[in-house]
């Protein structure tokens, strides 16, 4: 009877020990998993940032933005403002570039901050091509020449202004 009780105690001890060891490994596993998940999110955000950098460097020369041969002194990094204002908020392009925001800000000549719409264009200096309602990361920027056709005293001429194209990437949480 005494031997039986001692064996029961040992079994109990073993059970507690097994539970404790299992719990310990589960906790360690959870800890490692949470660190790895955090690392994955960080990697995903770094990739998004890299993607935004690559995009901002080549966006001005894409067919949707580039001046092509329209303007007399347009070359590479030339953005057609007339094209972009029509492109603004087009739903078809919402997921095309896979970034959170794209906007163009005029730098020179300096004017008061005013967002562009079809009504006030070209008397404005910020063209928000599109923006998603998401958690946006730091913007990546690149210089472009923003060109359009102007009319002065009945005569057409090409006007190019220095601008920055800004791209925000989406931050994964």
């Amino acid at each position: 009877m005494v031997k039986n009780k001692s064996a029961q105690l040992k079994i109990q001890q073993m059970t507690f020990m097994l539970i404790a060891v299992t719990l310990f490994f589960v906790l360690v596993g959870l800890f490692v998993l949470s660190i790895k998940t955090y690392g994955l999110k960080k990697i995903a955000n770094n990739l998004e940032e890299e993607n935004a950098k690559l995009l901002v460097a080549k966006l001005a020369n894409s067919p949707e933005f580039s001046c092509g041969d329209v303007y007399s002194y347009s070359e590479i990094n030339c953005v057609d403002a007339d094209k972009v204002i029509v492109l603004k908020d087009r739903k078809e392009y919402a997921d095309f570039w896979k970034v959170a925001n794209i906007e163009i800000r005029k730098i020179y000549p300096v004017t008061a901050n005013k967002e562009c719409s079809l009504k006030n264009y070209p008397d404005c200096n910020i063209i928000k091509v599109f923006s998603k309602d998401v958690n946006a990361g730091a913007y990546q920027s690149n210089f472009v020449s923003l060109c359009r056709t102007e009319i002065l005293e009945g005569e057409k001429y090409d006007k190019c202004e220095l601008a920055k194209i800004l791209v925000n990437y989406e931050v994964k949480e």
């Binding site: 001005a60 002194y73 920027s141």
Partner: protein, 156 residues
């Protein structure tokens, strides 16, 4: 026996302290690295390409306003704009304003300074410098027609 145990405990504590210090050093290095803002090489290239296309207030006859690229050529020939201003003066004013608006230079900024130089075959046409010169810089150059050259340096 007791003394040996104490010695082992001191040794263990020392190892933990050394490992903790090493970990802290690694942590501080990694945090410092992630906080830095990098200067991308395409920024200087795209700036020089974009600003050369900008329209200026100088025209030989309105409304044919000259681009900066054309104004550099005009300055090399020492011509005058239709509004009576010298092309070189307009070029200098325009470039100074563009540099001021484009780059936020200063001690606390990522960009410590910048310089833009324009040369013809035999002379320096213009040199504009803002902020401080440092050993680290990213540069870009553009060769125009008639032996003209534009050099831009961005100090960080």
């Amino acid at each position: 026996m007791r003394k040996k145990g104490q010695e082992e405990m001191v040794g263990f504590a020392l190892i933990i302290i050394v490992v903790a210090v090493i970990l802290l050093i690694f942590l501080s290095f990694s945090l410092r690295k992630s906080g830095q803002t990098q200067i991308e090489s395409y920024e200087a290239d795209s700036f020089i390409q974009a600003f050369l296309q900008s329209t200026t207030e100088c025209a030989y006859y309105k409304p044919s306003y000259l681009s900066i690229k054309e104004l550099i050529k005009a300055c090399d020939l020492e011509t005058t704009c239709s509004n009576g201003k010298e092309s070189c003066k307009v070029l200098k004013e325009t470039i100074e304003e563009i540099l001021e608006q484009s780059w936020n230079t200063g001690e606390e900024s990522v960009y410590k300074g910048n310089s833009l130089e324009i040369y013809s075959k035999d002379k320096e046409i213009l040199k504009v410098q803002q902020g401080n010169e440092t050993k680290n810089y990213k540069g870009s150059a553009q060769i125009l027609a008639n032996g003209l050259e534009v050099k831009f340096k961005l100090y960080y």
